[in-house]
């Protein structure tokens, strides 16, 4: 896979003034400098203190604005991810928009039976295969948690399954620096060495601090490991507005930014210039059901602000798309997937994960991934806009046809359809009249998406991996299992 021309929307959504963005940033700096944070990683703390942060008796670490400014001056404003074969596949930064799945869902809507059942390792393979076959899915996260495996080494097993079933770049979760180390070693082995992996990163690690203002040992350890290996890392908190962060959109973003920026500071101190991704997950707690809503309208409001702040700071951003709070593959799913995905495209949000998420991050569906792919395809057309330089005003054609004529067989129509922009063709959406639709079995969107997913699963899998590579990965797995028993 090549990084075809990255998609960048010509129509862009911005709603904050520079002054507002400055105020939000200043408030985040104030939280870092005055409130501080709890960092449970001795080496990380030492690194911060040596560079001007202060640690008080209660264990709170305060970060001066100058430390953040310094980190912002060394962090790259874009970086690339490469596919399994080593070709550049994604350039993250600017307004380039990419889509991919999320990780660790405990349940699946079984694509064959429609049953809601626990996820297994096979689901990870299926998600990867389906994503591999969808042109508008650019990167892959596991999509499922293998509840059929014991807890030791699950994230390495997950990674190996993904690597076997898709050639697209991977975004990974790991428990701690030990299993992440084994994953990175395997990726380096694939590339033919750690230096080659650094030059052409195959994966991005998704690491989270704990809101409010807590940076656990494991989170910082994973962050530092990525800095050392030159593996891109997203250090993204998931404050839930009203529960683990202020309920106001401003407060949510300020706290989340303070959490993410502390990660940026440690990361850049350890390895100035290493690739880092900024982000804050947008969730809010539904105050009646107690559910962590991904798609509440307040969550969307938080999201707009977060992505705009990333643009303003010139940092590649972590975003979200293709997900729903719905428990069914229904119209609510379609509506929420559409709104969130369109927002991401309009914002020029870079790495949009969680495609295929349902029911508050607990259930996955292949149909939802397929539907999102179609939605993205259609809106890439819309948001490419009408290029000013070849505004095809067709005055000649209008003159040629005149009153009472038609354009059906006109050369202008032919040129447009055959050589020009053509007409976007749906893969799933209905364009048939009632009779034809009924004759074809009255198939609705969910069923069409299901059939498309099943069809992709029938195609040939990616080329098998070198058996030596897999053997060495197995050896790492055995070590990991021994060490964590």
């Amino acid at each position: 896979m090549r990084d075809r021309t990255p998609f960048e929307p010509v129509i862009q959504l911005r709603h904050l003034s520079d002054d507002t963005k400055q105020r939000i940033f200043d408030a985040a700096l104030q939280v870092l400098a005055d409130v501080g944070a709890s960092v449970s990683h001795p080496e990380g703390v030492e690194l911060l203190v040596r560079s001007g942060c202060t640690l008080d008796d209660s264990g709170l670490l305060r970060v001066p604005p100058s430390a953040v400014e310094r980190a912002l001056s060394t962090v790259p404003s874009s970086f690339a991810l490469y596919d399994r074969s080593g070709s550049q596949a994604m350039t993250l930064g600017g307004n380039n928009v990419y889509f991919g799945t999320g990780s660790d869902l405990m349940w699946q809507y079984d694509v064959e039976t429609g049953e809601h059942r626990p996820s297994g390792l096979d689901d990870i393979a299926r998600v990867a295969r389906v994503c591999d076959g969808l042109p508008n899915i650019d990167f892959v996260m596991s999509g499922a948690y293998p509840t059929d495996l014991g807890p030791q080494g699950v994230y390495l097993a997950t990674f190996l399954t993904m690597m076997r079933n898709t050639t697209k770049p991977l975004v990974l979760v790991a428990e701690n620096e030990v299993d992440l180390g084994a994953i990175i070693d395997t990726a380096a082995d694939l590339r033919g060495g750690a230096e080659r992996l650094r030059e052409a990163p195959y994966l991005l690690a998704y690491v989270e601090p704990v809101s409010p203002l807590l940076h656990p040992r494991e989170s910082i350890a994973k962050l530092l490991l990525c800095a050392d290996a030159g593996v891109p890392v997203a250090y993204v908190p998931a404050p839930l507005a009203g529960a683990t962060s202020p309920i106001s959109s401003g407060g949510h973003v300020v706290q989340g930014m303070a959490e993410c920026l502390l990660g940026l500071v440690v990361h850049q101190l350890r390895a100035p210039g290493a690739p880092f991704m900024f982000g804050v997950n947008q969730g809010s707690l539904d105050m009646v059901s107690g559910q962590p809503s991904y798609t509440a309208i307040e969550s969307f409001m938080n999201y707009l602000t977060i992505v705009e702040m990333a643009k303003w700071l010139r940092l590649p951003n972590w975003g979200i798309s293709g997900c729903t709070d719905s428990q069914a593959i229904d119209a609510q799913l379609g509506l929420e997937v559409a709104e969130l995905t369109l927002l991401s495209m309009l914002l020029g949000s870079n790495l949009n994960h969680d495609v295929g998420f349902m029911g508050f991050g607990l259930t996955g569906s292949l149909e939802e991934i397929v539907i999102t792919d179609e939605f993205v395809s259609m809106n890439k057309k819309l948001l490419s806009g009408v290029p000013a330089e070849d505004l095809d005003l067709a005055v000649e054609a209008i003159a040629g046809v005149g009153p009472k004529g038609h354009y059906l067989g006109h050369p202008h129509t032919r040129a447009h359809l055959r050589k020009g922009p053509g007409q976007w063709r749906p893969g799933l959406l209905n364009r048939d009249n009632r009779d034809r639709w009924v004759e074809a079995g009255s198939v609705d969107l969910r069923e069409k998406a299901r059939r498309k997913a099943l069809a992709i699963l029938q195609t040939d899998p990616p080329a098998p991996l070198d058996p030596g590579l897999l053997q060495r990965a197995d050896a790492r797995m055995n070590t990991l299992r021994r060490e964590t028993v």
Binding site: M106, V288, G290
Partner: protein, 210 residues
């Protein structure tokens, strides 16, 4: 029901600091039976709050504010209650298991349990089996609540149960478990006494076990 009781109930539901104590004092002055003020006023108010949350008529934090207001009223009432009336439904030790930092669900469960009158000792997140067991022993808790949100951390529940058995404490405490990956089946398998899908159900199960 007397208007005075209605006032107490309304003040509990409202959850503002102040009015509940005023209403309880007024009821005492009017010569209402303290037991009745407790049962038909304060406790009835909290029951109504629980039902309203269930119906989606109020927000989760309203329960917290109502419980706080109720406690204020209780403080005024307590000296007037007959000896032996306990202000607590029992002591619960609660926490998120070792290796796991997810604590929002656990916090909600704790909040609802204290709303229902339990004395809640919250050990926070990433709680080691030893810490759970020590706290149960130290507080003489009748109920231990463990929350796990990761498939990888669920085994820490089993380790805690094993430690309870090893210390000869398993018969003295009921164990309630919950969290997104935890099911009734899992609870049965590891030998827990109760499981709940959410915070409201956790209160029901805790009361059954208490």
């Amino acid at each position: 029901m007397t208007d005075i009781m209605k006032d107490i109930i309304a003040a509990v539901i409202d959850g503002e600091p102040g009015p509940v104590t005023t209403a309880v004092s007024a009821a005492l002055e009017a010569g209402e039976d303290p037991e009745s003020i407790l049962n038909d006023g304060l406790t009835a108010g909290m029951t109504a709050v629980g039902e309203m949350l269930d119906q989606g008529e109020i927000f989760i934090p309203d329960v917290l504010w109502a419980a706080e207001a109720m406690q204020e009223g209780l403080a005024v009432l307590l000296p007037h209650l007959a000896h032996g009336v306990s202000r607590s439904a029992g002591t619960v030790v609660i926490g998120t298991v070792q290796g796991d930092v997810h604590d929002i669900g656990k916090n909600l469960v704790g909040l609802m349990l204290s709303g229902a009158g339990f004395e809640v000792r919250d050990l926070g997140h990433d709680v080691a089996p030893e810490a759970f067991v020590d706290s149960v022993a130290h507080n003489g808790a009748g109920l231990l609540g463990m929350s796990a949100m990761l498939t990888t951390t669920m085994p820490a529940m089993t380790r805690t149960l094993e430690l309870l058995r090893a210390r000869g404490m398993r018969e003295k405490v009921h164990v309630l478990v919950g969290g997104a990956p935890v099911t009734q089946g899992y609870a049965d398998k590891i030998g827990a006494d109760g499981w709940a899908i959410d915070a409201t159900r956790a209160v029901v199960v805790a009361k059954e076990l208490a």
